[in-house]
Symmetry: C2
Subunit: 264 residues, 2 copies
């Protein structure tokens, strides 16, 4: 089933995922509703990870935390089971990816704490609504992501460089792009950098560390936003004994509307 | 020494507190710099309390968390010792106030986690800068605070009603009051309610649960903001074995400027 023919209601889409009727990448699905990154860690690591997110709200904006052993995102998707309603999960042992799963009930434990973190789709919708085109969407490729020389603020075992995503914006729309994305601090929000890639330690803008290369035209300025890959990279680097995340591109679809997250 | 003759530099004021040269209430001290509420809890309660704050960011905006046993607010006041640089502390055993202290080094433990939470002074400065007068400051009395029927979202042992502060605003300035305070989500930010006190469970607006009564004139509208008394009330109600807070009115003065906290 193609994304275009899916229902627009988040609960219906989650039901189709749970029953195996549909399990695709979630970009463009249930438009206008917030999608979330997922990180699940044992309670033993949960305080330090929550502290890491609190100290680094731009790359790690916490939307909801589900308490140890609980599986329902009571605030963002009441009634849902976080173990069965994401199209594809990734399971890690000691920081190493052990494989992708459709359902993580078989590996569930009573000490697991689930973190839902903001993703870029909300502010990208805000840009599109403001008439700012997004090349990676037009060309249907993945956004370009880069490791930077911007250090996150460590907490316990969690540390490492911030990962950013880059979108080229016409010089006449740079101010507007900063304004409209600033309304969404819970989903990465305002850019972390505008202009020269070298200033934040990116040596070759044509060679992203994650995702696909993106053309930047003469009359465009590269703008950089903190990226949700950061917490996953940081968590994996700390080699927790066990971790579950979503598989890249397969996000959790919540009942919240993008505008519910706006500060103004 | 009166507040007016104190230095304007936060580090100098903290030094005078630490040496005992001055230990007054901090309203109006080091104007333009962020002041913070303090809550210190054992590590055993820290994850749930951080989670409570994450779930209730309006009453409990986390500015900085100092890890177990550590005493330096590295982000907001590098070099300071959180145990000696607040003019007056309050120590609790099993939820009961055991007394006020000038210095808490003698009761310090290696498992204590310190939370600095936003306070209303930053958004009050924003209102004053926007030409919106504040009656409790003009009359030099405490702001009126009320328990409401707005329930916080619980986390572990922490739960209870939201406490709000009330400031009367001339009807012509209500919109501006919402706008200017919305810029400061890390220090309580936008109001939680405008107008009818009964709608949020306040039966008698002339009898505050905390602080002093405040006159509301015919042409004024009462506006309500989430209040930093909430986390203290909630924490005390959960009766943790041990807790330290600031004594009401005696806040921690940080090196951050109010404008550093603004989202736009």
């Amino acid at each position: 089933m193609s994304t275009r023919t899916l229902p627009g209601n988040p609960a219906e889409v989650r039901h189709m995922i749970e029953t195996g009727e549909w399990r695709g990448v979630t970009a463009g699905v249930a438009p206008g509703f917030v999608q979330a990154n997922l990180a699940i860690l044992p309670k033993e690591q949960a305080f330090d990870f929550l502290l890491f997110c609190q100290r680094n709200p731009k790359p790690c904006p916490v939307l909801e935390v589900i308490e140890p052993g609980q599986v329902e995102p009571k605030s963002m998707a009441p009634g849902a089971d976080i173990r069965t309603t994401i199209p594809k999960y990734r399971v890690y042992n000691n920081g190493e990816a052990a494989g992708d799963e459709d359902d993580v009930r078989s590996v569930w434990r009573d000490d697991l704490v689930s973190f839902l973190l903001g993703c870029s789709f909300s502010f990208e919708n805000a840009m599109l609504n403001a008439g700012i085109p997004l090349r990676h969407i037009e060309r249907q490729h993945n956004v370009s992501m880069f490791r930077t020389n911007i250090e996150t603020t460590p907490a316990g075992p969690f540390s490492g460089p911030m990962v950013v995503s880059m979108r080229p914006v016409h010089h006449s729309q740079v101010v507007r792009a900063v304004q409209v994305t600033s309304r969404f601090p819970a989903t990465h929000g305002a850019p972390v950098h505008v202009g020269d890639p070298e200033a934040i330690g990116i040596e070759d803008i044509t060679r992203p560390d994650y995702g696909d290369p993106t053309e930047i035209r003469e009359d465009e300025v590269p703008i950089f936003w903190a990226c949700g890959v950061t917490p996953q990279a940081v968590a994996a680097k700390s080699k927790p004994p066990f971790m579950i995340t979503h598989s890249p591109g397969y996000m959790f679809i919540t009942d919240w509307r993008d505008e519910d997250m706006a500060v103004l």
